[in-house]
């Protein structure tokens, strides 16, 4: 008996050694996709990769933590220390460009774009955000929408409400619900980015897409009427949120909708995946108030660091990521839509099908809270302003601090 086990063990060990010898390369992918649908999507991509390139050993380097706050710190030490992964997750837009591209850490990917015809299948709004200095620097895996109003259908039906299109409608509904003892708007800003996220939709709603985009290149005045009105509107909205918002995370705020304690929730469409994961289907969705026809987008992209130890394996990975097969495998699991415009809609759930349609027709604007609109130090500064504003509601102070943040970012003049 003993001996047979020993033989078995030896056989196994030999088998593993054989596997190891058969491998020709390796690929290290760095991300913060550790839970639920996003981890499942990532592993699915790895499966396809292994089928395409059987010899390559994949190292799944993940660092847990919402919105990648911990992962980004680890990535920074690795990149600056000259030990980059082969490819890493980074938000589309300034988070990638200002942190890693302008500083010369990344390899341009124009050849991949040409070879795969990506400049035809990704929409123009996305290509603009991926481009810097005439070159492409990363491949988008997905698109999330930030400016969605989620609502509890049962509550809306009970009181005969329809999703508010304007802020006036929103406040009328909120007042009515408050009188009925229902929390009008759920908020979970234990991570303050969730408040920045709501404020961003208000900036879009008040300033319109062009005015909002102008905030990030200095053409819209931070000291102007529009920003003041947005802050006032946001302050008024805060009168209708749950009292314990500072104790809740974004998904715990979502629970208020599921439990029927709150009626509305302005949040990104990962909330949709959270509803489904928790087995709740009594929710509806609409664009956030004032955001009709505007798609506030963020995207997880992957790029190729200059010092990547396995550049060829990384290029295969990026090609898979941008391919129709890759995007159709990953996104239904992750709960996001394809960055490509040619994915098969029947693979997706009803919300995502709606989002895919909007994606084709809406004006695309970059998300601030999720790294697309401004560089990291600017986002951190806005988060600081929000941290104070949510408590103090001091419009003048917040506006002055926001204007200063734009100056500090080197975009606005003193």
């Amino acid at each position: 008996m003993r001996k047979r086990q020993w033989v078995k063990g030896m056989a196994l060990a030999l088998a593993f050694m054989g596997l190891a010898l058969g491998q020709t390369g390796k690929l290290e992918i760095f991300s913060w996709w550790t839970t639920g649908g996003e981890a499942a999507g990532l592993l699915k991509l790895f499966d396809i990769y292994k089928a395409r390139h059987p010899g390559v050993k994949i190292i799944n380097a993940t660092v847990a933590g919402g919105a990648g706050s911990n992962a980004k710190a680890v990535l920074k030490t690795r990149m600056l220390g000259g030990d980059p992964p082969d490819s890493f997750q980074v938000h589309m837009g300034h988070e990638l460009i200002d942190t890693w591209v302008t500083t010369g850490f990344m390899e341009p990917l124009d050849d991949l774009y040409q070879k795969n015809g990506w400049d035809k299948v990704f929409p123009k709004g996305v290509l603009e955000l991926l481009k810097w200095n005439g070159h492409y620097w990363s491949v988008p895996a997905n698109i999330h929408r930030a400016n969605v109003l989620w609502y509890n259908k049962a509550i809306f039906e009970k009181y005969g409400l329809t999703p508010p299109k304007t802020y006036d409608e929103f406040f009328a509904i909120a007042e009515k619900l408050k009188k009925e003892g229902i929390i009008p708007l759920a908020l979970g800003d234990n991570g303050i980015w969730a408040s920045t996220h709501v404020f961003e939709t208000v900036l879009i709603g008040v300033l319109g897409p062009e005015g909002y985009k102008g905030l990030w290149n200095g053409t819209t005045d931070w000291r102007g009427e529009g920003v003041r009105k947005a802050l006032e509107t946001f302050a008024k909205m805060l009168n209708y949120v749950n009292a314990d918002h500072a104790a809740r995370s974004w998904d715990q705020a979502n629970d208020l909708i599921i439990q029927g304690k709150a009626a509305m929730y302005i949040h990104g469409d990962w909330a949709n995946a959270d509803f489904l994961a928790k087995g709740f289907d009594g929710y509806g969705w609409a664009p956030a108030p004032g955001n009709v026809g505007i798609y506030d987008a963020l995207s997880d992209t992957f790029g190729l660091p200059k010092k990547a130890p396995d550049p060829q394996e990384a290029r295969w990975w990026l090609e898979l990521l941008g391919s129709k097969e890759g995007q159709e495998a990953f996104n239904p699991l992750k709960g996001s839509i394809c960055a490509r415009t040619d994915c098969d809609a029947s693979l997706f759930n009803p919300y995502l099908q709606w989002a895919m349609k909007q994606w084709q027709t809406d004006t695309i604007v970059p998300s601030l809270a999720h790294g697309a609109a401004a560089k990291e130090s600017w986002v951190a500064a806005v988060n600081d302003v929000m941290s104070l504003f949510v408590t103090s509601r001091n419009v003048a102070q917040a506006q002055e601090m926001l204007a200063q943040a734009c100056v500090d970012a080197g975009v606005c003049k003193q």
């Binding site: 710190a73 104790a247 130090s377 600081d384 941290s387 104070l388 408590t391």
Partner: protein, 293 residues
């Protein structure tokens, strides 16, 4: 004799070298960094900007709130732990039964990491669970409050959790101090007809002064460096309106989220100076004491 010295030197040399490089070397590097304009991943031209980063900090609302929070935290946490620790030690020292059991129970929290206790306290002090529910059940509803989610409480709630964790440690320190007081002193006091209070006031208390000082140093530097407990209880954003925020947390965000390395360096150096004000007088005091003994 000479060879003996050589061996001793060779034995400490590696650790001295490592400390010089990895502690003092990096303190020096951080000091230099905090005086430059390195406030991005790559700055085209790194140059000396004097105290600019420091001046900016003292005009920064968040940093000023952090300093105030540190002060409030220290004022609650240090005396709180000292009083509870001393009380516990006196009780245990009075010849109570099952002393070992109680000692272990009181000391246990210290064995846990701040992250672990932080998560527990996060739920205890969640406005809709934990302590608030308990107060309700006991008919003490008036005690209910928003804890760390209430901007007017904030850091005080964190201090409560910290006192819970470290009063057991101060108790252990005091207990050791009490056991070290020679019996003869009490006998002499008894002969002089001292009352129970006088025992404490004129014998126990003065002889515990060195223990108190050590405890103040340890607790003081914990209150300046506190980071993990705040993150675990109030979250990485430092609570609403930074009511639970502390300099160490701001340093982390500034350095690793905003990429403002020079600014982050300046916060570290200010923290280091604050700790030095606490530790250096203590070190010189205890070194002098050693020399005279």
């Amino acid at each position: 004799m000479r060879r003996y010295r050589l061996v001793a030197f060779a034995l400490i040399a590696p650790s001295v070298l490592l400390i010089i490089v990895f502690v003092y070397g990096f303190i020096g590097w951080t000091t230099w960094l905090s005086l430059t304009n390195q406030n991005d991943i790559i700055v085209p031209q790194v140059r000396f900007v004097g105290l600019e980063n420091y001046i900016r900090l003292f005009h920064n609302l968040r940093f000023l709130i952090d300093l105030k929070n540190t002060l409030i935290f220290a004022l609650l946490f240090i005396p709180g732990s000292l009083v509870l620790g001393l009380a516990g030690a006196l009780l245990l020292n009075s010849g109570i039964r099952y002393e070992g059991v109680f000692r272990t129970i009181f000391l246990m929290p210290m064995a846990l990491s701040f992250i672990v206790t932080g998560v527990v306290w996060r739920w205890l002090m969640n406005p809709s669970s934990g302590l608030n529910l308990m107060f309700d059940a006991l008919g003490l509803g008036f005690l209910k409050n928003g804890w760390y989610t209430d901007p007017s409480i904030g850091i005080k709630a964190i201090a409560l959790a910290a006192v819970w964790q470290l009063s057991g440690y101060t108790m252990a320190l005091y207990l050791a101090g009490l056991r070290a007081i020679p019996k003869e002193l009490y006998e002499a006091a008894q002969v002089d007809g001292a009352s129970q209070w006088q025992f404490f006031r004129f014998v126990t208390f003065p002889l515990l002064t060195p223990v108190t000082l050590s405890a103040v140093i340890v607790l003081g530097h914990i209150s300046l460096k506190i980071f993990d407990l705040v993150v675990a209880v109030a979250g990485i954003s430092g609570g609403p309106a930074f009511s639970s925020d502390v300099p160490a947390l701001y340093m982390f965000v500034t350095t690793f989220q905003a990429n403002r390395f020079a600014q982050g360096g300046a916060i570290s150096i200010i923290l280091l100076m604050m700790v030095s004000f606490l530790v250096i007088p203590y070190l010189s005091w205890s070194l002098r004491r050693e020399a005279t003994e």
